[in-house]
């Protein structure tokens, strides 16, 4: 039972070939491009959604920060679509792998921080000391702020990994419980099934929210630094 539970998180390989590359590239198939003014329904819906999200997310930035719009919108689309595809039966979700999320979080965070240090050095250094701290507390507070700065990429990655992995595990467990209960007591199995349905609805929401949170935090780190 235990080994079976975690089997869906193993990197998929087939005959020694990395299938995971194809799985990571698959969401890009679902977002076609077009040069026309009036498109088919799929592209029109995606364009509308993208405009909505980009206006809401990039409005807080200045001109320099808005150059990151393409990056952030690709990020939210990728994480959102990967998480949602992972809710399909038997599929593999790349964002459950910590390696992948670290690979997304560290470069983005480092890019924002290094931009800040290069262009507004004093302002970036000033972030290490909140306004109005009493003088004796200053050394300790600088250390704490440094630690909190360096923990940001790790927190970004681990947050996404843990949320998605936990959701998938819960679905596995409750699904298994429903199955086992069916032969013992049908009423309890029905209740567990309703819980499963509610959980699946939650997972849909979590999939999208996590994408949003990831991108929002990166955009906030950017805002601090431009």
């Amino acid at each position: 039972m235990n080994e079976n539970l975690f089997a869906s998180f193993i990197t998929p390989m087939m005959f020694g070939l990395p299938l995971v590359t194809l799985i990571v590239l698959f969401p890009s198939l679902l977002f076609p491009t077009s040069n026309r003014l009036v498109n088919n329904r799929l592209i029109s819906l995606q364009q509308w959604m993208l405009q909505l999200v980009s206006k809401q997310m990039m409005s807080i930035h200045n001109t320099k920060g808005q150059t990151w719009a393409l990056m952030l919108m690709s990020l939210i689309l990728f994480i959102g679509s990967t998480n949602l595809l992972g809710l399909l039966p038997h599929s593999f979700t790349p964002t459950t792998q910590l390696s992948m999320n670290l690979g997304m979080a560290i470069p983005l965070w480092a890019g924002a921080v290094i931009t800040g240090f290069r262009n507004k050095t004093t302002a970036s250094l000033a972030h290490f000391l909140p306004q109005g701290t009493p003088t004796p507390l200053i050394p300790m507070l600088v250390i704490i702020e440094t630690i909190s700065l360096f923990i940001q990429p790790v927190a970004l990655a681990v947050r996404l990994t843990a949320n998605i992995t936990a959701g998938h595990l819960l679905i596995h467990l409750i699904g298994g419980a429903t199955l086992a209960l069916m032969s013992i007591n049908t009423t309890t199995a029905l209740i567990t099934f309703i819980i499963l349905i509610l959980l699946t609805v939650l997972e849909f929401a979590v999939a999208m929210i996590q994408a949003y949170v990831f991108t929002l935090l990166v955009s906030l780190y950017l805002h601090d630094n431009t």
């Binding site: 198939l29 039966p89 038997h90 199955l179």
Partner: protein, 102 residues
């Protein structure tokens, strides 16, 4: 009119000519990439890039994705099914359900 074998489409090839037709296909990387591209645009222009595209265009792709992932994990699922039988957790008539949905 005598069309050379190389330029015939699949449905026009006679059964006896099939092996030689397959061997004459373009198996270079660019040939294979071209085949994928043609297949993609055939599907896209028929089901998605139309005036009133429906949910079926997207759903068929997702259904194929689910099916391919099931094929990929069939071996593990059947092994876990055997384990489940051995430990007495599931009766034989629940076979279909144990190939669980997730």
């Amino acid at each position: 009119m005598n069309v050379p074998l190389k330029e015939k489409k699949l449905l026009e090839v006679k059964l006896g000519e099939l092996p030689s037709w397959i061997l004459m296909r373009d198996f270079t990387p660019s040939g294979i990439a071209g085949a994928f591209q043609r297949g993609y645009y055939r599907y896209y222009n028929k089901y998605v890039n139309v005036k009133k595209g429906s949910i079926a265009g997207l759903s068929m792709v997702l259904a194929a994705y689910v099916f391919l992932n099931y094929c990929r994990s069939y071996k593990e699922l059947s092994e876990s099914l055997l384990d489940c039988f051995a430990s007495g957790g599931v009766s034989p008539d629940r076979v279909g359900l144990v190939h669980r949905l997730i």
